[in-house]
């Protein structure tokens, strides 16, 4: 099948998925979530004021009409204003996306690169002490809570050693760099454990294949075998693992953003959950769904690039 037709067909799946997402978030909001009018009016709320606020928010209209509004905003990307902060949601997302991405993208890229390199390295020494130590080390790193890394890193490296800013963020390049280095380092440390274990398994699956034996018989060096042949063949699971995580980068890193006072999207989402801010929750859910579908299509297309044997249907 033509790659373009395949992509368009897959992207059209967005429509039923979005309708479903809209229904689920609308249902959850109305069934599980507390009354936003009550939340906004806080401790001084009276029955009359709550009723008036519900009217202003449009919560006293029939459910079907409210659902139609949700669907409409999902397809027009006009999410309106936050109920809690009264800010334009598109502005909030744009303002938050830059700090989030300035942290998550380099961190994710470096973490992936480093983890793949380490995995190839330990795979080279498979079954030997280095490999075993690496596995033990990875499990050890995964056993420590992410909060512990953040608290210790912030206290020791930033406060005690004075190597980095303790917290904060400045907009614009290169001003933000000093503020994101430490969070990036912590992100990498947090990722290495699970990532190395995954990539190592994937690479080891390949390393015992016949073509590797053939390559060795032909006298190719281990480096060439690993980087040129094994890595290429291991790319499909690696791409799946990497690309499908990219949409979630946009949502930011909740804990890191919070502890390092980075004004990203993680905080916006969390605040929206805390304050029953339905328009913001709706926007974040819809955008995440679209990003997820888009990146799964990209993953499929990339399969054909890295492995010509794969055909899109």
């Amino acid at each position: 099948m033509n790659i373009y037709i395949y992509t368009i067909r897959r992207l059209l799946y967005v429509i039923p998925v979005l309708l479903g997402v809209c229904f689920i978030i609308f249902f959850l909001f109305n069934v599980v979530s507390p009354d936003p009018a009550r939340m906004m009016l806080d401790k001084h709320a009276t029955v009359k004021q709550i009723a008036e606020m519900r009217h202003e928010l449009g919560l006293d209209r029939p459910f079907f009409m409210q659902y139609l509004d949700v669907v409409k905003s999902a397809f027009t990307f006009n999410f309106g204003r936050s109920w809690s902060t009264r800010q334009e949601i598109s502005e909030m997302i744009m303002d938050g996306a830059i700090p989030s991405l300035s942290l998550s993208f380099p961190a994710f890229f470096l973490a992936t690169l480093i983890s793949i390199c380490i995995s190839l390295f330990v795979s080279f020494f498979r079954g030997k002490v280095i490999d075993r130590l690496a596995v033990i080390f990875c499990v050890g790193m995964m056993s420590v809570s992410s909060l512990a890394y953040i608290l210790f890193g912030q206290w020791f490296l930033a406060y005690h050693m004075g190597l980095f800013e303790i917290s904060g963020y400045e907009f614009g390049f290169p001003f933000f760099i000093p503020y994101v280095i430490l969070p990036i380092i912590i992100w990498i440390i947090l990722s290495i454990g699970p990532d190395v274990r995954f990539y190592r398994t994937v690479i080891l699956d390949e390393i015992y294949q016949d073509y590797v034996r053939t390559a060795r018989a032909k006298g190719l060096s281990e480096i060439v075998i690993l980087f040129k042949h094994v890595l290429k063949n291991a790319m499909i699971p690696i791409i799946t693992y990497v690309v499908i995580r990219i949409p979630f980068l946009i949502l930011g890193a909740l804990l890191l953003e919070s502890f390092f006072s980075i004004p990203g999207l993680g905080g916006i989402t969390l605040d929206a959950v805390k304050s029953s801010d339905f328009p913001v929750l709706k926007a974040m859910t819809v955008l995440s769904s679209i990003a997820y579908i888009t990146f799964s299509v990209i993953t499929d297309v990339l399969y054909t690039v890295v492995d010509p044997r794969v055909r899109l249907k």
Binding site: T85, D95, A158, Y169, P178, S261, G267, S275
Partner: protein, 587 residues
């Protein structure tokens, strides 16, 4: 090789930038504050939380404010020329507005120059607070209190556009500088509402120019200017170059006089050039930045208390060496564990009293507040009229023997016959620990408690729908009047109003109604005390603590006083730049 060299250069560059951490600025008088919550916006009518209200108060001002150096809290004129002329029946308040006060320059004004503040601005701001289309979060302050305002609100809610030009009898500009308020009923707390951010002066042309974006374009008359608000990690205010003549006070309460708070008396405000507010949601970065000298004052985080304060409640030598100063101030607040008085179970006063007697508030204070709180005997905290000095509630714990005896009288010997009591708390580690502590205490008299953690909105919903048996809560003062605390137990204020316990006592309700219409007189204080004592012993809730604020401030910061009403406080703060340089070298 070339690639490796490039890679190493890039790495060194990044590390270089990373290594260049910013040094603390000691050239300008810049006040650095840390705030633990995001700021919603800069519109006075939506500033219903302490954080937003503090930010709004740096830019906007009201007719009245609390005297910076007087305790008990005393209202003084701010944008008003003097305190109002009040009619004999206490229903009409007439204010003269200060002349020569200008709004900040903004493009919404003709030629971009801020115009003079006039009485009509207050009329507009009050109507805006009542605007049914805006659904302000401060309407409760004036709801049903100003003549004709509720009718105006109701009428306009049905119209497509709110008519601000229609005259409301209760809020009128008599001339360019005179504004008059007529109350529909006696409301002695009215003046406090004029010191709250909800009623601060906004200019109609600015609101209309920016429309829905007004909340991001604060244009007030205050000591500091903020050209545009962005919901980010930092808010930077600069000194208002056109701020009117407003001087640091020359009078003070004795305690402040003795501590040298009058050193800046008579100086033009504000005393600092810039205020930088850093939004830091987590406690650790706030604390570490403070310890580095990047923040000028900070409440001590719970987890750092033991390493900062000695058992005798003084600073540790290490902190003293840095020149830090400790301020301990009682807050106008109360924590409590409420019974659902609507349930048949808790209509039994003996059961309520028994549970209170079994609860060790002092131990709880030590465990969860590092011993900093003051055990509450009733609802009104110390520092305001209505608190009964020296009063000890006879049903306060711990007296397990008496509690057990009362439980027998209540009909539940050793807790037999009592169902498991659910105690609802909000989700947090400390709340859970407190819940477990309560459970353990009640077990000693045979009462079985089931601790249930809920997200805060869920807890509120449960209280509103009366699906709670007991729940934990705290209340902070909106204004320094006992009425603000006594209303928590006034029957008609039942949920979703502030009386979450649902306590409904006819005699208490009658007295509350009478007192709430009285002016501040010894008779009213006597009535407040009577009510305070009555509910103390009725035990509609188990009284917890009146918390105290332990705040640390840098040795170079001058005039800092912890206040329950911080709006506008920063204009009085000052700093000693030379001392800052000297002290920072010790950090």
């Amino acid at each position: 090789m070339k690639n490796i060299t490039t890679l190493l250069t890039v790495f060194a560059f990044i590390l270089g930038i990373g290594g260049c951490t910013k040094k603390v600025d000691v050239k300008e008088r810049v006040l650095n504050l840390a705030v633990g919550s995001k700021i919603k916006g800069m519109d006075p009518i939506y500033a219903n939380d302490r954080y937003s209200s503090n930010e709004v108060g740096r830019v906007y001002e009201g007719l009245l404010e609390y005297h910076y150096l007087k305790r008990p809290y005393t209202l003084v004129p701010n944008l008003a020329e003097a305190m109002p002329a009040v009619s004999a029946d206490g229903l009409t308040y007439t204010f003269k507005v200060k002349k020569g006060v200008y709004f900040h320059d903004d493009k919404a004004f003709t030629d971009g120059k801020g115009r003079e503040l006039v009485a009509e601005d207050f009329v507009y701001s009050i109507k805006r607070l009542a605007d049914p289309k805006l659904q302000s979060l401060g309407w409760w302050v004036l709801d049903g209190k100003i003549k004709g305002l509720n009718e105006w609100r109701k009428k306009n809610s049905a119209l497509p556009k709110v008519n601000y030009d229609e005259v409301v009898e209760g809020v009128k500009a008599l001339d360019r500088y005179t504004v008059q308020f007529k109350l529909s009923k006696s409301f002695p707390q009215f003046l406090y509402s004029l010191a709250m951010t909800f009623t601060f002066a906004t200019a109609r042309e600015v609101v209309e120019h920016y429309g829905k974006e007004f909340l991001n374009h604060p244009v007030g008359t205050g000591a500091f200017v903020l050209p545009e608000f962005k919901q980010s990690n930092k808010i930077i205010y600069t000194k208002n170059p056109k701020f009117r003549k407003k001087l640091y006070p020359s009078e003070a309460s004795e305690e402040f006089k003795q501590k040298g708070y009058l050193a800046d008396a008579g100086k033009q405000l504000p005393l600092v050039d810039k205020v930088v507010v850093h939004i830091m949601v987590e406690a650790q970065p706030r604390w570490l930045n403070f310890q580095k000298g990047n923040i000028d004052y900070l409440g001590i985080p719970k987890d750092n208390f033991a390493s900062t304060i000695t058992p005798s409640k003084t600073l540790t030598p290490e902190q003293k060496k840095k020149g830090l100063i400790l301020s301990i101030t009682p807050s106008l607040d109360i924590t409590y564990m409420a019974f659902n008085n609507d349930s048949d179970l808790f209509k039994n006063i003996k059961l309520r009293r028994a549970m209170s007697l079994a609860y060790d508030v002092n131990k709880s204070n030590e465990l969860f507040y590092n011993g900093t709180g003051l055990p509450a005997q009733s609802v009104v905290p110390p520092g305001i009229a209505g608190n009964i000095k020296g009063y000890v509630n006879p049903y306060r714990g711990t007296d397990v023997a008496k509690a057990k005896a009362l439980l027998v009288e209540a009909g539940y010997p050793e807790g037999k016959g009592l169902p498991a009591i659910t105690y609802d708390i909000s989700v947090s580690t400390v709340a859970r620990q407190m819940g477990e502590f309560f459970k353990k205490q009640m077990k000693e008299i045979g009462i079985n408690i089931k601790v249930q953690a809920n997200p805060w909105p869920e807890l509120q919903k449960k209280v509103d729908t009366r699906k709670v048996m007991m729940y934990g809560m705290a209340w902070g003062a909106d204004y320094p009047d006992a009425e603000n605390f006594l209303q928590l137990l006034y029957g008609p204020n039942k949920p979703p109003g502030p009386n979450g316990s649902g306590f409904n006592n006819e005699e208490f309700n009658r007295l509350y109604k009478v007192a709430s219409l009285m002016q501040d007189t010894p008779e009213r204080t006597a009535l407040y005390e009577k009510m305070n004592r009555m509910i103390a012993e009725e035990m509609p809730v188990i009284w917890g603590l009146h918390r105290q604020d332990y705040v640390l401030y840098q040795g170079w910061l001058k005039n800092y006083i912890r206040s329950d009403f911080e709006t506008g406080q920063v204009q009085y703060l000052n700093m000693d730049i030379e001392k800052k340089k000297a002290l920072l070298s010790k950090f």
